[in-house]
C-alpha cells in the first residue's frame, strides 16, 4: 500500500493504515515534498489534502479527518434512514421483518434506559438508541478486511498513496467528540436540574463535609472536594471516549498485524486467514459490547446529572 517511492515494509504498511485522510490548513511558507522529489513552497495559507505523515502532523488542529467524518456521517445516515423509514411505516398490528428487528432494538434500549434513568427527559432514550446503533455501525466497519476499502478508495481516486482509514471509532477525534458532547450535555443537565448553585455545591461539598459544629473544617475540605470532584467529572468523558477508542484501535491493530501475514507466503497466509476469521468472530462481541458500554455509561452520566442529593445538605 505504499507508494513507489517507499519500500513496502511492515512498518510502512501499519503506519499507512493508521493514518487518516487529512484535509487541513498548511501555513504560508510551508515547503511541500512532492512524490517526484521536487519541492513546492506555499505562498499563502492553503487548505489541502495531506500527502505525507509530516504534512498531516503539521496541519495541527486546523484539519479535518475526511474518512472519519465521512464514514461517521454515512453510517449515521444509514441508521437514521433505516429507523426513520421503519418508524414512518410502522403499524400497531403484527410487525414484520425489519420492523420487528427495529422494535427489538428500540425495546432493548428502552428497557436498559428505564432501568438506569428514572427521570423525565425526552432526550435520553433517543440519544441512547442513536449512540448504540451508530457506534455499533462504526465499530462494525472493523470487520471488513482492512485492505478492501482503502484499496477501493485508492483505485477510485487513482492515488496509490491515498490515506484511508475506514473505522471512525479508531480515531480518537470521533470517540472524544462524542464523549465531549455527552460531557457538555452532562453539565447542561446538571445546571438545569440543580441550578448553578446546586451544581457548585455538588462539586465543592462532596464527598467530605463537616457538620455545622465544626464548620471551620470545611475551609480545608472544600478545596480537597473541588479537586476530587473536578477530576472525577473530567475523567468521565475522557474515559468514555478513550475506552471506545482504545478497544477499537487495539482491535484494528491486530487485524492489521494479521493482514501482514498474507504477504508472508502461502502457509502463513492460511494461518492469517484462520486468525483473521477467529479474531473477527471474537471482535463481533467486542464491538457490540463497546457500543453497549458507551450507551450505558452515557445514560448513567445523564442519570447522575439529574440525581439530586436530597439527603445531604
Amino acid at each position: 500500500m505504499a507508494s513507489e517511492g517507499e519500500a513496502l515494509t511492515s512498518t510502512g504498511y501499519i503506519q499507512h493504515h493508521l493514518q487518516n485522510m487529512v484535509y487541513g490548513k498548511l501555513p504560508a511558507g510551508y515547503v511541500r515534498h512532492n512524490a517526484d522529489g521536487t519541492h513546492t513552497t506555499l505562498e499563502a495559507d492553503t487548505w489541502t489534502l495531506a500527502h505525507t505523515y509530516q504534512e498531516a502532523k503539521d496541519m495541527g488542529f486546523m484539519a479535518l479527518h475526511l474518512d472519519t467524518l465521512g464514514w461517521g456521517l454515512f453510517l449515521g445516515l444509514v441508521f437514521s434512514f433505516i429507523f426513520h423509514r421503519v418508524a414512518k411505516r410502522a403499524k400497531a398490528g403484527k410487525p414484520t421483518g425489519l420492523q420487528s428487528f427495529v422494535e427489538l432494538v428500540v425495546e432493548f434500549i428502552d428497557n436498559t434506559v428505564k432501568d438506569i434513568f428514572h427521570h423525565k427527559n425526552k432526550l435520553i432514550a433517543p440519544m441512547a438508541l442513536t449512540i448504540f446503533c451508530w457506534v455499533f455501525l462504526m465499530n462494525l466497519m472493523d470487520l471488513i478486511p482492512v485492505d478492501w476499502l482503502p484499496w477501493a478508495a485508492q483505485k477510485i481516486s487513482g492515488d496509490s498513496h491515498l490515506f484511508f482509514k475506514v473505522v471512525p471509532t479508531t480515531d480518537p477525534n470521533a470517540t472524544l467528540g462524542m464523549a465531549i458532547t455527552v460531557f457538555i450535555l452532562m453539565i447542561f443537565f446538571n445546571i438545569k436540574e440543580k441550578g448553578l448553585w446546586g451544581f457548585t455545591k455538588e462539586l465543592t461539598c462532596h464527598p467530605f463535609f463537616a457538620p455545622k459544629k465544626l464548620w471551620y473544617l470545611n475551609i480545608l475540605l472544600i478545596p480537597v472536594n473541588t479537586v476530587l470532584e473536578t477530576v472525577a467529572l473530567i475523567a468521565k468523558p475522557i474515559s468514555l471516549g478513550l475506552r471506545l477508542f482504545g478497544n477499537m484501535y487495539a482491535g484494528e491493530m491486530i487485524f492489521i498485524l494479521i493482514a501482514l501475514l498474507f504477504s508472508a507466503g502461502i502457509v502463513l497466509g492460511v494461518v492469517g486467514g484462520v486468525l483473521q476469521w477467529g479474531w473477527a468472530v471474537f471482535h463481533i462481541l467486542v464491538i457490540t459490547l463497546q457500543a453497549f458500554i458507551f450507551m450505558v455509561l452515557t445514560t448513567v452520566y445523564m442519570a447522575m446529572a439529574h440525581d439530586t442529593h436530597d439527603d445531604d445538605h
Binding site: 488542529f61 484539519a63 432526550l123 470521533a174
Partner: protein, 156 residues
C-alpha cells in the same frame, strides 16, 4: 492521531443524529409499540371476559335445561293425572249411561208389562163376557154389564 477539528465535526454530527432520532424516529416507534401493547392487553382482557361470559352462559344454559326438564316432568305428570281423570270421568259417565239405559229398559219393560196387563185385562173382560154369554146363553146387555165388567177387570 492528533486532536483536530474532526472532534468538533463529530460532535456536531452526533448532535444532529441524536436530534433527528429524538424528533422523527423514537416517538413514532414508541407510540406504535405502546399502542400494540395496549391492543394486546385489550385483547387479553376481552378473551378473559369472553371466557367468563362463556362460563356464565354455560351455567345459564344448564339451569334452563334443568328448569325445562322439571317443567316437562310436571307437564307429563299433569297429563297423566288428566288422563286418569278423563278415564275416571268416562267410567263414571259409562256407569251413568248404563244406569240410564238400564232404567230406560226397565221402564220399557214395565210399560210393556202394564200394557200387556191392560190388554190381558181387556181381553179377560171380553172373554169373561163371552164366557158369561155362553154360560148364560143369553145375550147380555153389554151396556148394562160393562161397568161391572170393567170394575172386575180393574180389580184383576
Amino acid at each position: 492521531m492528533s486532536i483536530t477539528l474532526t472532534l468538533i465535526g463529530q460532535s456536531i454530527t452526533f448532535l444532529a443524529f441524536v436530534f433527528f432520532c429524538m424528533k422523527f424516529v423514537w416517538p413514532a416507534l414508541i407510540n406504535v409499540m405502546q399502542e400494540r401493547e395496549k391492543r394486546i392487553a385489550d385483547g387479553l382482557d376481552a378473551a378473559e371476559k369472553a371466557d367468563k361470559d362463556l362460563e356464565l352462559a354455560k351455567q345459564r344454559a344448564s339451569e334452563q335445561l334443568k328448569e325445562a326438564k322439571a317443567k316437562a316432568a310436571e307437564i307429563v305428570e299433569q297429563a297423566n293425572k288428566r288422563a286418569n281423570q278423563i278415564i275416571e270421568e268416562a267410567k263414571e259417565q259409562a256407569v251413568v249411561e248404563a244406569d240410564r239405559i238400564k232404567a230406560a229398559a226397565q221402564a220399557e219393560v214395565d210399560r210393556s208389562v202394564s200394557q200387556a196387563r191392560e190388554e190381558l185385562r181387556g181381553k179377560v173382560a171380553s172373554l169373561a163376557l163371552v164366557g158369561a154369554e155362553k154360560v148364560l146363553g143369553a145375550s147380555v146387555d153389554e151396556k148394562a154389564h160393562s161397568d161391572m165388567l170393567n170394575k172386575l177387570a180393574a180389580e184383576l
